[in-house]
Symmetry: C2
Subunit: 156 residues, 2 copies
DNA sequence: TGTTGATTTGCAATTTTGTTTCATCGAAAG
DNA sequence: CTTTCGATGAAACAAAATTGCAAATCAACA
């Protein structure tokens, strides 16, 4: 499905998707057109999900990041799916991980303030019958912030 | 530092940074040139950290995502800073959160396999004097995957 | 081994997007 | 008022992405 060229392309644009295709081509030994076609193909296949700008949270201020571990009452598939869809829709939820172990979900939440978060917990967590309990961890600093997949480590 | 126009621009390019500046301008009521200058300025200020492609992990297969909660022995500033720098350098560590509460760090780790992860824990966690213990949570599914900051909710 | 067909490539033309220039506008300060 | 500073839009310009086409590559199969 993906060859070494594709991996190399992804490695580059995962770090900076504003890199000109000419430069990418030069680095990996392909023409710009070939690079362009491969990128297009990976977009169509859904391998490339989206292309985004990352904003530095500390620079803009007035925001708090929280990690929320969620423990469900019952672990019925339908209820889990319902919850997944619910979390997805909440703009304050940046990331949602469905996990194994004692807990069932991990969320990364970004809000303007703790007061705001308090309101959010009432609306989203406390009011939900299926959530037995949840644990909130306050983030003091974000040292590394990416969604990069380290292809170079994947034998390939 | 940032006005409503900037917020609107960020809101758009956080979702898709391939949106032409002309389109952005049209949507928010500015010329393309003005949009371009604002983006440039935010880059220089470090508000825009980077521009990247997001790869769909499930589509490429052969990878496991893990959440690691880390408990330190002593919480001396120097040791924490050292650890921060160490985690940052590890390519398998995608995100590193420095947190309050019983634990000290939360990591999001992406590896090719569990066997690979086992090796990584030996090299990184077990061998580190300052790490008292750590808890690994296996991610079964990622429902939402972004680094978006919901500006629309921030009064502004 | 040779042929066929499908796929991928590079080059060059074309189109789209990003960037710079320059004259103008408007608000704040004198 | 007048000056100054910063931001703007329109237009010119530069750079990048995209497409068409012929040639090259490669795998399947006779």
């Amino acid at each position: 499905m993906l060859d070494t060229f594709d991996h190399k392309i992804l490695e580059i644009i995962q770090k900076n998707n504003l890199t000109p295709q000419r430069d990418i081509g030069e680095r990996i030994g392909l023409s710009a057109a070939a690079v362009q076609r491969r990128i297009k193909r990976m977009r169509e296949l859904g391998i490339i999900e989206k292309d985004i700008t990352i904003v530095n949270r500390e620079k803009i201020g007035n925001n708090v990041t929280l990690l929320v571990e969620i423990f469900l009452d019952s672990e019925k598939i339908e209820q889990i799916d319902t919850l997944k869809r619910e979390f997805e829709k909440i703009p304050e939820v940046q990331q949602c991980y469905y996990v194994t172990g004692e807990s069932d979900f991990f969320l990364v939440v970004v809000v303007p303030s703790m007061a705001y978060y308090e309101q959010l917990t009432r609306k989203v967590f406390f009011s939900n019958e299926n959530i037995k309990r949840f644990r909130t961890v306050v983030v003091m600093g974000i040292t590394k912030n990416s969604l990069e997949i380290p292809f170079s480590l994947f034998v390939s």
